[in-house]
């Protein structure tokens, strides 16, 4: 007997076509039983549908909006049942995302049925000092990347004697490829809200903001519904006074994730950072004492209060407690959102959970675009705040991009730096102009026009931008370049000295070549070439070729490859 049909309707599911699946399911089965849930993190398998029955739950992957397929699924057929990677199940530890994708995000009832708001109730009984004590005991550190102990930050705010204290949830998740906060807000908005209300209770802050990027409409919707539901039942009444909670949509500037820039934006000003100190706990939103915590940090709070700081503290390493969410992306088999205990090694995440083939991975970029890259030889490093920093990377907010052996590290560094350069607010000289000059420099190198002097300039300027920039964005922007210069210096050198890109990725340094011995003259390449640069004799005119890879992709015999620049000579010799 089917009790409920749960369709994963977070952004990742919708993007994979879950919306159509949902509509069709409502047509062919009891509409009331079809419900929308959040994301369980296995993005590679979306759309995912879970069927709750008397005899247990069954999950189906890559569900298509086809009647036949859905009917088969509703008959609980074995065929397309979801078989998660067993190694992942083994390595993950779901402390804060255990309900994600399992419950209806906008159902207060269902959240409450799963211990929701029990933390808040307990917190009300504990009183503010004990809450902060408990958070301190848990040794929870900020999950936005900085790693500042949350309990200590709250105690700063709590100590301020001011009626207008402000608590802000930083939901301006801007790293490309990172979606930890989005998933939490879409799938578990009440859990985030509960964490914030506990924070308000602990610090006497009666004004709460969630600063969320406008590109997350579903997160904004779900949060607003959750807030409305919580207010309706009075969950926001603390000490007899109502706490005001507002979702503020940001315009999508990466730098507005920096706390002083975020405050400026919230105040209606240009989103640029200012020099600290004074810190926001002294001088924050409109000058009032303000604390800012990340979405994931708040999502940890209900559990800590419910289970106790001691219990939380048991997971993780000495200096990094609890779990961390990572958004896995790049050259691996199982992309998605994972929750792993602090202290797990990079290798376990990349190979076991991500399913990357050993030997196919060159490095990971960890900590977002301004993190650093870590080479495969350091993959036994445990993931915690301090180990990552010591390798020139950083925890960041949890982006983890796997870089395959087929990637050029100079191009990879250029890609990340181009992002931060575009996202610079333009306020301070080093970041505004320095990063731009570094990108131009990298463009010269990948364009085959670099010189050894360019590499020296990259090193020198990179160091100075880190030292002399006003905020974290500039201070970390050169990291991808400096860390690749550190670990992949030879790749840079080969580009500037020999005009050689070993990964064959830099267009200016490669030619495209048809191996006549493999070629079956099927004309596929000729037909698909957008610039008509392949002759009837199957010779590519590399002066016209745009290196778009169309021919390589369509060749049924894999007879076309990129070769080092100058391969054109070889082509001519063969014909």
């Amino acid at each position: 007997m089917i009790k409920r049909v749960k369709v994963g309707m977070a952004s990742c599911g919708i993007a994979a076509g879950a919306g159509e699946v949902l509509e069709l399911l409502k047509e062919i089965t009891d509409e009331d039983k079809v419900v929308e849930v959040g994301c369980i993190g296995h993005c590679y398998a979306e759309p995912l549908v879970e069927i709750e029955t008397d005899s247990g739950n069954y999950m189906y992957e890559k569900v298509q909006p086809e009647k036949e397929m859905l009917e088969q699924m509703l008959s609980l057929a074995d065929s397309s049942r979801f078989q998660p990677n067993p190694k992942r199940i083994d390595k993950e530890e779901l402390l804060i995302t255990s309900l994600a994708g399992k419950i209806e995000p906008t159902s207060l009832e269902e959240y409450r049925a799963n211990e929701g708001y029990e933390g808040l109730e307990k917190a009300k009984r504990m009183g503010k000092d004990k809450i902060i004590e408990e958070v301190k005991t848990s040794k929870l550190r900020g999950r936005g990347g900085g790693g500042f102990p949350t309990g200590i930050k709250w105690s700063f705010l709590a100590s301020k004697d001011n009626e207008n204290k402000v608590l802000i949830c930083n939901a301006d998740e801007g790293d490309p490829g990172a979606f930890m906060d989005r998933t939490l807000m879409e799938s578990l908005p009440h859990q985030v809200l509960e964490g914030m209300l506990i924070g308000a209770l602990a610090t006497d802050a009666y004004k709460l903001f969630i600063y969320c990027r406008a590109e997350y409409p579903l997160a904004v919707r779900n949060l607003n519904i959750a807030i409305q539901q919580a207010v309706e039942v009075g969950l926001n009444i603390i000490g007899g006074k109502p706490v005001e909670i507002k979702v503020k949509e940001g315009a999508g500037a990466f730098v507005c994730g920096e706390e002083t820039a975020l405050i400026h934006s919230l105040e209606g000003k240009r989103g640029t950072p200012r020099y600290r100190p004074p810190y926001p706990t002294d001088h924050g939103f409109l000058g009032y004492p303000t604390a800012i915590n990340n979405v994931e940090t708040f999502a940890n709070i209900p559990l800590i209060i419910r289970e106790g700081g001691d219990s939380f503290e048991k997971t993780g390493t000495d200096n990094s407690k609890g779990t961390k969410l990572f958004a896995l992306a790049g050259d691996l088999n199982y992309s998605g959102l994972v929750e792993v205990p602090m202290g797990i090694t990079i290798g376990e995440v990349v190979y076991d959970i991500g399913g990357a083939e050993p030997g196919s991975v060159k490095a990971v970029q960890i900590g977002g675009p301004s993190g650093g890259c870590i080479t495969a030889e350091y993959f036994d490093t445990p993931i915690d705040y301090d180990s990552l920093t010591s390798l020139g990377a950083m925890m960041g907010s949890g982006g983890l991009i796997v870089v395959g052996t087929n990637r050029c590290m100079v191009e990879t560094a250029r890609y990340f730096l181009e992002f931060t350069t575009r996202e610079s607010c333009g306020k301070c000289t080093f970041c505004r102009i320095g990063t731009k000059r570094m990108v131009e420099n990298l463009e010269r190198i990948t364009g085959g026009e670099g010189t050894p002097e360019d590499i020296n300039v990259l090193k020198d300027l990179g160091k100075k931008i880190k030292q002399g920039s006003l905020c974290g964005l500039g201070q970390t922007a050169p990291n991808p370049v400096l860390s690749t210069l550190n670990y992949f210096y030879n790749e840079y050198l080969a580009h500037v000295e020999e005009g050689y890109c070993a990964a064959m990725e830099c267009k200016a340094l490669v030619d495209v070549f048809i191996n006549k011995e493999e070629c079956i003259e099927c004309k596929q390449c000729i037909k698909n070439c957008p610039v008509d640069c392949i002759s009837e004799g199957y010779v590519i005119d590399n002066n016209l070729c745009t290196r778009c890879n169309s021919c390589i992709e369509v060749c049924p015999k894999d007879a076309i490859t990129r070769v080092a620049k100058g391969g054109v000579v070889r082509v001519e010799n063969q014909t």
Binding site: R274, R422, T429, F430, R432, G434, G468, L470
Partner: protein, 678 residues
């Protein structure tokens, strides 16, 4: 108030809590540069030129915003800090678009303040124009006639209508009108005396600039009359000698400059004697030795400069040279051709081994020579000269142009079997000149006098200037060299090292690479083309040595002045970025890349807003919002694309009260008054 203790540059300092490092340092006499800090507004923390290092924490801090904390150990002047600041400046310069100084001034060898004297001329203030020109050019009447006008070739006006402003004519008119009315301020004579050998433009300029500083001089001239190349090398029709006499009279009037003629080094003058009798000696003997044709029979040809010299000694009354061939393509060759044309009715030919395009002579000289009837034989090389009866026979080869040589010009190569002969009465070889340096003086590989790069010193108290240092060049270059030698001597007399301060000049680039969109116009540039130079009748030209061109009238100068677009920076005298860049030796070319936002807004009648110069410090934005309370300026875009704009892109005039606070606070020339002060 509680006190804190910290260390800045090794100095233990006690300061009140709550002050920035900049304030504490300033209160204790330690200067930290800043461009974006202004006490009237909240901190902008943008330029980072004030960056200092706290060695205690290893952190780099913006001194304008970071509070001084107890126990800090701040470094503000170490090489490491200076290097950091230099990089800041080089980054700012890398996107800074504009012309610190106008290209006319940069390309003028004497670096005269051209834009300023042109503006004075335009406004009818010709005496003022003369005063400004004479700051660097003590021979404005002569140079106003003979200068090849480096300034006009680089003039930004060329972008609009392919013709530079007729700059030199401003000098000429202002000097013609007021030369005798203006006596410059001279320092009292110090008693120091310098001997100058040679009264050409190099020697005269050295004497002039020494005299301004109170140093007297005696100029020794080997010829019967002073002026050097001005008198004996430049033909009367270009520079009338009565004009030169007028100009030279001024030097004697200045008091302390004595010109003694008919005294030649190696004759009555002995260098060893002079260097003992005088505090210093300047060798300015010019470059008077004609180069031969390096062919058989070359001795039958006259040397170009020597032929002119003879003519000059004769008061430009030479004999009819008959049919004349002048070999060479430079200005001296043109002077010979045009002088010969004035002396004979027979054909006068110019023979040059490359084409007209490669001729080093000024185009106007070539054009005027052609008007006067000169024949040009290009791609022709003489190989032998011989006398046959009463005629000279020049054996020649036809040439064609081959690969470019070191000078970038295509090398002429002989065409096989193309030998031919031409006959003439006179052959003049104006191939080039070289320096005949005084005995015992070090020379370089070209035979020119070797001097110290900065102080123009040869050895001990002997200095040198002019053509004998540079090789044959122009009058204005000799004048510039004379001034440098004077500066070298003044430093030497004070016992100081001659140091030229590090200077930078940001430039938009050569006008040929620009379009009018690349320029900033303070006002609508005049539309009229260049005023045409009026010349005497052609008949008079070919029959007399009368001066060929007329001086512009005041009306013509006023009209021509409107063509100047005043392209130098409005803030060139008070640019914080330039000052800092010069003191930290920042190189504007260190980081090359995209320039970012150019574009300007000149809608306001009195204020120009030039985005290309803006360093995005945000001071103007905050001054207008926090001090004036008008909120007329704001930032737009982000990152490298950031720019300051007027609110809602509305032009300033509608509501700006012209209080000028933003203009005064702007550290560069991004916001400035349109009207320039001289």
């Amino acid at each position: 108030m509680s006190k804190i203790k910290l260390n800045i540059d090794g100095k233990e300092i006690v300061a009140p809590q709550g002050q920035t490092i900049l304030q504490v340092a300033g209160d204790n006499g330690i200067e930290i540069p800043t461009m974006c800090q202004d006490d009237r507004i909240s901190r902008t923390t943008s330029c980072f030129i004030c960056v200092v290092k706290d060695t205690k924490s290893g952190q780099w801090l913006p001194a304008c915003s970071a509070q001084a904390q107890d126990g800090m150990e701040i470094e503000t002047k170490t090489p490491e800090v200076n290097d950091m600041r230099k990089t800041v400046l080089e980054l700012l310069l890398s996107e800074h678009t504009g012309d610190c100084e106008a290209p006319c001034t940069i390309s003028c060898p004497a670096h005269a303040r051209v834009e300023e004297y042109v503006r004075a001329g335009r406004d009818g203030e010709l005496l003022k124009a003369l005063k400004i020109a004479k700051e660097r050019i003590p021979l404005p009447m002569s140079i106003g006639r003979v200068c090849p006008r480096f300034c006009e070739k680089d003039c930004r006006r060329n972008v609009l209508d392919n013709a530079g402003v007729a700059i030199n004519d401003f000098k000429r008119l202002s000097a013609d009108l007021y030369y005798e009315d203006y006596m410059e301020n001279r320092k009292d004579l110090t008693g120091e005396k310098v001997a100058i050998i040679g009264s050409g433009p190099g020697g005269l300029a050295a004497a002039y600039f020494l005299r301004l500083e109170g140093v007297s001089s005696t100029i020794f001239e080997k010829m019967p009359e002073p002026g050097g190349m001005l008198r004996y090398g430049i033909p009367e029709y270009r520079l009338p000698k009565n004009i030169l006499d007028k100009e030279l009279a001024h030097f004697e009037k200045m008091g302390g400059i004595e010109i003694v003629c008919n005294k030649e080094l190696g004759g009555e003058l002995d260098l060893n004697q002079l260097k003992k009798e005088y505090d210093a000696v300047i060798i300015a003997v010019g470059s008077w030795q004609s180069s031969g044709m390096r062919t058989e029979g070359e001795e039958l040809a006259a040397g170009g400069i020597n032929w002119l010299e003879d003519l000059a000694r004769n008061g430009w009354q030479g004999e009819d040279p008959g049919e004349t061939i002048v070999v060479g393509g430079g200005n001296t060759a043109m002077d010979c051709v045009r002088s010969a044309l004035r002396l004979t009715k027979k054909p006068v030919h110019c023979m040059y081994r490359r084409t007209e395009k490669e001729m080093p002579a000024e185009q106007i000289e070539i054009d005027e020579a052609r008007e006067e009837g000169a024949n040009f034989n290009f791609l022709t090389q003489p190989i032998k000269l011989r006398r046959e009866d009463d005629k000279l026979v020049l054996e020649c080869l036809r040439m064609e142009l081959g690969e470019p040589d070191a000078s970038g010009r295509r090398r002429p190569v002989p065409v096989e079997g193309s030998e031919f002969e031409v006959k003439a009465d006179t052959v003049i070889a104006a191939i080039g000149q070289s320096t005949l340096a005084p005995e015992g003086i070090n020379t370089n590989k070209w035979g020119d006098v070797e001097v110290g790069e900065k102080d123009c010193r040869v050895t001990e108290n002997i200095f040198a200037a002019g053509d004998c240092v540079s090789g044959p060049a122009t009058v204005v270059e000799a004048v510039a060299g004379g001034r440098r030698a004077a500066i070298g001597i003044l430093a030497y007399l004070k016992g100081e090292e001659c140091l030229f301060p590090y200077k930078i000049n940001v430039s938009r680039g050569h006008w040929q690479s620009l379009s009018s969109e690349d320029l900033t116009f303070l006002f609508e540039p005049g539309e009229k083309g260049r005023v045409k130079q009026r010349l005497i009748d052609l008949d008079e030209r070919v029959n007399t040595f009368n001066e060929v061109s007329y001086t512009f009238t005041e009306d013509e100068i006023a009209e021509e002045g409107k063509r100047c677009i005043e392209c130098s920076c409005t803030a060139k005298k008070d640019c914080n970025l330039k000052d800092c860049s010069e003191s930290y030796h920042a190189d504007p070319e260190k980081f090359l890349g995209e320039k970012g936002h150019a574009g300007y807004n000149s809608q306001h009648p009195h204020i120009i807003m030039d985005n290309g110069k803006c360093i995005k410090c945000g001071v103007c934005v905050k001054i207008c919002s926090e001090v004036v309370n008008e909120y007329l300026l704001g930032f737009k875009n982000r990152g490298f694309e950031t720019k300051v704009e007027t609110a809602f892109d509305r032009p300033l005039p509608e509501y700006c009260t012209e209080c000028g606070k933003c203009v005064e606070a702007c550290p560069v020339g991004a916001l400035d008054w349109k009207k320039k002060e001289d």
